[in-house]
Amino acid sequence: MAMNIMSTTGCLLEMCDERFELEDYQGGVPRWCTGCGDNAILAAAQRLCRDEGLRPEKTVFVSGIGCSSRFPHYMKTYGFHGIHGRALPVAEGVKMARPELTVFVNTGDGDCCSIGAAHWIHAVRYNMNLTVFLHDNKIYGLTKKQASPTTPIGTKSNTTPRGSYLEALNPLTVTLGVQNVSFVAQAVDWIPEVLFDIVKAAYRHKGLSFIRIVQRCPEWLPDMFEPWMRDPDKVQLLHHDDGLQFSASLSRLYKNQLRHDPSDLNRAREIASSLEPIPVGILYRNPDVPCYEDLLRSDKLRTPELTRAVLDAEFDKYTIRPQGSEKMQA
C-alpha cells in the first residue's frame, strides 16, 4: 500500500519551497546582436529553469569562448565563462565535485568542434549528466567571421576569402558515432516551441544530452538561413510516442514530419546525415547508459580522518632524507 505516496512532511516542505519567475533567471542584458539566434536559446533555457523549478544557486552554466559562450553572464545562476574549447572539461569537473548541481554547457561550433574537439569526443563517452547546447552558427562569430569546422563548403570568410574548401563536419553524426552516446537532438533557434520541448527532454535525460542548435548569425551570415526561413518544408520534424509530439498549429505550418523511434541508433545516424531537409527533434536517446559520476561514486563518507589517512599513505611513499645524505648514497 501507500508505498510511493509522498509523505506529509514532504508535502508540507514543498509548500515552503520558493517559486521562481523568469526574471529570477535573467542576468545581465545580452550584448548579442539584434536578431542573433542566441536570444532564442537564452529564452528557452530561462523558461526551462522556471518550469522545472531549478534553484538558481544549484544551477550552473559553463561555457568556453565565443559569442555563444557569453551565455552564463545572462543567466542569474552560477556560471563559469571558461577558456576556449574547454567548456566540457570544466563542466565535468563541476559535476564530479558537486553531483547535486544541475550543470548546463554552452559551446559554439568553433569552441566545441574545432579547438575543443578532443574534449567533446571524450565527454560523450564519459556520459556525465550534463545538458550541452551546441550553438552552431557555422562561423566564428566573436572574432568576426572565420570559417569553423561546420562552415558549409564554398563559404567566403576572413580565413577563406575564396570560399572554404572542405566539406563541413556534421556534429550530429560525429556524436552519434561515439561509444556511450546517450542523447542527441537537433533544434533550430527559429522554432521556439520545438526548441523548448527539446531542451526539456534533454534536461530530463540522465546522461550527457547533446543538442545541436542551428543558430542564426545575422551579423556575419545574414543569408545563410534564408532558404530555411522561407520554406518550412526544408525542416523535417521528428515525432514519436517516445519522442516529441507537435501541436496542431505547428503541424499546419511544418508539414514535413517523420516518425522516428529515438531508441533506433542506426536509423538515427541515417537521419542525422541528412542536410536537406534538416531533421529537428530527438534523434537518439538511451536512458540505460551509465553515468561516469555514478560509476565512480563511493559510499565512503569523506571525513577529514579519511582524507588525512589517504594523504598520509600517499606521502609515506616518499622518504625524506636528511640533508647531505644524497652524497653518501652516491
Binding site: M1, I5, L13, L22, T34, C36, A43, R216, L253
Partner: protein, 735 residues
C-alpha cells in the same frame, strides 16, 4: 444390510464400537497410509535442516542443507570420480541431518566438522579428501535449524535481524553524512570568526615547517578587516548544535562507537515476548522518534541552505503532532513480538488485535503448537484448528496487515515471503503451526506440520497489501498442493494379499490428519480384514454424499501400522462433520485465491448461455436468409472515425495587427524598434503590448525585420499618418 455393515453404520452414527466386529485403534500405533514412506525422516533428503546464513537480507538468508550440498556437488562431483564423491558427501549430509535432529545446536561449519570426524574414523582416505573438496565449494555458514518447536521464532528472528541490520547501516550512513556536513557548517563559521582569524590559529593552520616565514599578526589584522557582512546568525548555530546533540543521543540504533564510548546511551531493544510490552514501548519511544525524524529533516534543509526561519520554524513547531507516517517510520527498526497461541491470555489477545489494527511497524509471530487441542468451550463441535486459524483470517480482513500463514514445514519455501513481511511498512502477522504437538501422534514435528498443510487443516497463504490493489496481486494460495482440488490426491502403491502390486489414488483429508493424533482415537475403529466389504468408501467420497436415508456406506481410510501392514479404519460422523467444515473454509480461501471463484463462474455460465442463444439465433437467421434470396441490402456505412479535436486559433481579421507569439524567437528586432509597442510575455516571446504606443510605420518596419515573419501589421489606425500608401504596399506580404 448384513450384520457387519450394520455394526459399521452404527459406529459411524454414534461413535460406539461393538467390540466383536470392530477393533479399537489405540495401541495399534497406526498412521495414515501415505506416511508409510516417512518413517525415518533423517534418511530422506528434504528441506530441513536449514542453514540460517548470516548477514543476508535476500532470499539466501535461509538455505536448506540439501540445497547447499547439491550446489557443492554440482561443482565438485564431476568426471570419473563424480559418483564416489556424491556418495561420500551424501553420507555426510545424512550424518549432519541426524545430528541436527538429535538437537545439536551448532553452526553449519562446526556440524560438518563433527559429522566428518565421526565418519572418517572408519572410512578410507578418499572419503576425507572428497569431503574437503565439497566443503570448500560451500561459501555459506550460519546456525543450523531443524524443523522443531523453535524453528518459527529462530527463522523469524534471523530474518528480522538481517532486515534491521540493513536499516542500521542505512541509518548510520545517513546520520554520518548529516553530522559531517553540519560540522562543516560550524567549522566554516569558526574560520570566519575573530578566533578563527587570530594569529595563533593562522599559525597552527600553516604547520611547523614554515611557521616563521609569515607574520601571522599582520595576516590576522588584514583578514579581520575583511570580515564578511552577513554574519552567521546565532539561532542557526544553536539549531545546528541541537541537531548534532539529538543525533548523539538517539537510542534507536546502537551507536557505531558504542565500544569506545561507554557514555553512549544504551540502545533500545525491539524484541518482545508480549504484545502489550511492545505496544507500550512503541508509544513510550514515540516522542524521541519524532524528535529524531524532525532533526533529520531539519538537518537536510540546513545542509541544503534551505532552512528559512520565517517559514520553517512554525512548521517544525507542529512536527509530529499527528504521529509519524509509515514512510518516516520505515527507516527505523521494526518491533518483533513472538507469542505462543497456547499461552495467549485475553489481555494479550486484545493487544494483539490492537497492533494489527494499527499502522505500527510491529511484526508478530503467532506460533501455534497444537491445532487439534480440545475446544475450551467444550461444545459439541470439535475445535480442529478453527480458533487459532481465525486470527490470520481476521487480520486479512483488516486489509492493511501483511499476513502469512504457514506450517513450519513450509517456511523454507515461504522464506522470501517471510522476508517481505518483515520488510513490510506496517504491522505483519506470521501465523505458524510448528507441528510440535507431535507428541500426541508420535510423528516428528515436520511431518505433523506438513500433514496439517496437506490436509487443509492449516493451509499456507500470504496476503501482501503492498503487492497491488486487488486480491489477485495480494493473495497467494498456490503453495498448497493441488490447490484447485478439495483435497490433494496422491497415488498410493501397496502389495495385496496375492502379493500383487496395487496402486490407488487416495485423497488426503482432514480425517487422515486427525487419525494420526492419539487423542482422537475414539472416533476411529479398525475393521478386521475379514470384514472389509463394499460398504467401506473413502472419506472424500462420503463427503460428497448427502444423507437422505439410513446410510449404507461408511467412510474409511487406509492406515499402516509399525510393520507397514495395511489397516482399514472407519470414522464416526462427528469427524466427517469436521472435515466438511474444513472443506468449506478451504473453499472460501480458494475463492479469495481466485480458484473456483463463484462470482466468476456464475458470470461465465450466464455469458455462455447468452452466447449459445446468440449462436442459435444466428444459425436460424442464416438458414432463413439462404431460403429467401433477398435483394442485396447495402450495409450501413461505418460512422466516420472521429477526427481529433483541432485547437482553435482566434479568428483574426486582416485589419488587426498581431504577432504569432508562440513562433517568436526572441530576437529583439521588434523590441528594438519600439519597446512600448512590442514587449515580451512570461515566456519571453513578443506580443503587441500597446498598438497606440507607436506608428504604423514602426509596425511595418518591425514586420520586415522579424526574421521568422510572425509580425502582422494589419491596417493603419491613423488615416493621417504620412506616407501611408507606400507603407501599405510594404505591409502587404505580412497581412
Amino acid at each position: 444390510m448384513d450384520a457387519d455393515t450394520q455394526a459399521q453404520v452404527a459406529f459411524f452414527l454414534t461413535g460406539r464400537r461393538p467390540s466383536e466386529c470392530l477393533a479399537a485403534v489405540d495401541g495399534l500405533d497406526l498412521r495414515p497410509a501415505l506416511f508409510a514412506g516417512y518413517r525415518e525422516l533423517t534418511r530422506l533428503r528434504y528441506d530441513f535442516p536449514l542453514v540460517l546464513v548470516g548477514g543476508r537480507a535476500d532470499g539466501l538468508f535461509a538455505q536448506s542443507l540439501s540445497g547447499l550440498v547439491d550446489g557443492a556437488l554440482e561443482t565438485v562431483a564431476q568426471g570419473g570420480e563424480g559418483e564416489r564423491i556424491r556418495k561420500h558427501v551424501l553420507r555426510l549430509e545424512l550424518e549432519i541431518r541426524a545430528l541436527a535432529a538429535a538437537g545439536v545446536v551448532k553452526p553449519f561449519s562446526a556440524l560438518w566438522d563433527e559429522a566428518a570426524s565421526r565418519l572418517t574414523k572408519t572410512a578410507d582416505k578418499s572419503f576425507a579428501e572428497d569431503l574437503r573438496r565439497a566443503r570448500a565449494a560451500i561459501k555459506f555458514d550460519g546456525e543450523v535449524a531443524d524443523c522443531d518447536t523453535a524453528l518459527p521464532s529462530r527463522l523469524l528472528r534471523h530474518g528480522w535481524a538481517a532486515v534491521q541490520k540493513q536499516k542500521a547501516e542505512a541509518f548510520h550512513k545517513d546520520i554520518g553524512r548529516l553530522a559531517l556536513k553540519l560540522s562543516d557548517i560550524l567549522k566554516a563559521d569558526y574560520e570566519r570568526s575573530d578566533a578563527g582569524r587570530s594569529a595563533k590559529r593562522l599559525k597552527a593552520a600553516v604547520g611547523a615547517s614554515f611557521g616563521d616565514t609569515f607574520d601571522f599578526d599582520a595576516m590576522s589584522r588584514m583578514l579581520g578587516k575583511a570580515l564578511p557582512q552577513d554574519a552567521f546568525p546565532p539561532s542557526r548555530r544553536k539549531r545546528i548544535c541541537d541537531l548534532l546533540d539529538v543525533f548523539g543521543r538517539q537510542q534507536f540504533f546502537p551507536a557505531l562507537d558504542a565500544g569506545t564510548k561507554p557514555t553512549a546511551a544504551k540502545p533500545y531493544s525491539f524484541l518482545f515476548e508480549s504484545c502489550a510490552e511492545a505496544l507500550q514501548a512503541f508509544r513510550d519511544r514515540m516522542p524521541m522518534l519524532i524528535e529524531l525524524v524532525k532533526a533529520i529533516t531539519v538537518a537536510e534543509l540546513e545542509i541544503d541552505g534551505q532552512y528559512v526561519e520565517s517559514k520553517h520554524d512554525a512548521l517544525f513547531e507542529q512536527f509530529g503532532a499527528n504521529g509519524l507516517g509509515q514512510q518516516d517510520l520505515a527507516r527505523f527498526p521494526d518491533y518483533l513480538v513472538c507469542v505462543n497461541a497456547g499461552q495467549l491470555q485475553a489481555v494479550e489477545q486484545a493487544r494483539l488485535m490492537e497492533i494489527l489494527s494499527s499502522s505500527f511497524p510491529i511484526k508478530v509471530l503467532f506460533q501455534i503448537d497444537d491445532i487439534l487441542e480440545a475446544a475450551p468451550t467444550g461444545g459439541s463441535n470439535l475445535d480442529t484448528g478453527v480458533r487459532t486459524r481465525q486470527i490470520a483470517n481476521m487480520a486479512i480482513g483488516l486489509n492493511t496487515v501483511y499476513v502469512l500463514q504457514s506450517s513450519s514445514s513450509n517456511l523454507f519455501r515461504f522464506r522470501e515471503r517471510v522476508l517481505r513481511g518483515l520488510a513490510y511498512r506496517g504491522p505483519a502477522l506470521f501465523s505458524v503451526f510448528s507441528g510440535a504437538s507431535a507428541k500426541a501422534s508420535g510423528l516428528p514435528p515436520y511431518l505433523m506440520a506438513a500433514a496439517a498443510m496437506e490436509s487443509r487443516a492449516f493451509p499456507a497463504f500470504s496476503y501482501d497489501p503492498s503487492a497491488g490493489a486487488d486480491w489477485a496481486s495480494r493473495f497467494f494460495l498456490e503453495a498448497n498442493s493441488q490447490p484447485d482440488l478439495d483435497w490433494p490426491v496422491q497415488s498410493f502403491a501397496y502389495e495385496n494379499e496375492e502379493h500383487q502390486r496395487v496402486s490407488e489414488d487416495i485423497a488426503f483429508t482432514l480425517v487422515d490428519f486427525i487419525a494420526g493424533d492419539r487423542r482422537y482415537a475414539a472416533h476411529f475403529a479398525s475393521v478386521p480384514r475379514a470384514k472389509w466389504n463394499g460398504s467401506l468408501i473413502p472419506v472424500d467420497e462420503s463427503l460428497t454424499r448427502e444423507r437422505k436415508s439410513l446410510p449404507d456406506k461408511v467412510p474409511s481410510l487406509l492406515m499402516v501400522d509399525e510393520g507397514n501392514v495395511l489397516h482399514k479404519v472407519i470414522v464416526d460422523e462427528k469427524l466427517i462433520g469436521e472435515a466438511r467444515r474444513c472443506r468449506e473454509m478451504w473453499h472460501s480461501l480458494q475463492e479469495l485465491g481466485g480458484i473456483h471463484n463463484s462470482h466468476a463462474e456464475k458470470l461465465l455460465a450466464r455469458e455462455r448461455s447468452a452466447w449459445e442463444e446468440r449462436m442459435r439465433q444466428e444459425v436460424e437467421a442464416h438458414a432463413a436468409q439462404a431460403a429467401v434470396v433477398s435483394a442485396a441490402s447495402a450495409a450501413p456505412a461505418a460512422p466516420e472515425a472521429a477526427s481529433p479535436p483541432v485547437e482553435q486559433e482566434p479568428e483574426r481579421s486582416a485589419d488587426e495587427a498581431y504577432i504569432e507569439t508562440p513562433r517568436c524567437s526572441t530576437c529583439d528586432e521588434c523590441t528594438q524598434v519600439n519597446k512600448k509597442m512590442f514587449a515580451y510575455d512570461k515566456n519571453k516571446q513578443a506580443y503587441i503590448a500597446d498598438i497606440n504606443a507607436g506608428t504604423y510605420a514602426q509596425l511595418v518596419e518591425a514586420a520586415e525585420n522579424c526574421q521568422v515573419a510572425v509580425i502582422h501589421p494589419g491596417k493603419p489606425r491613423n488615416p493621417n499618418e504620412p506616407g501611408l500608401e507606400e507603407l501599405l504596399k510594404r505591409a502587404e506580404p505580412f497581412l
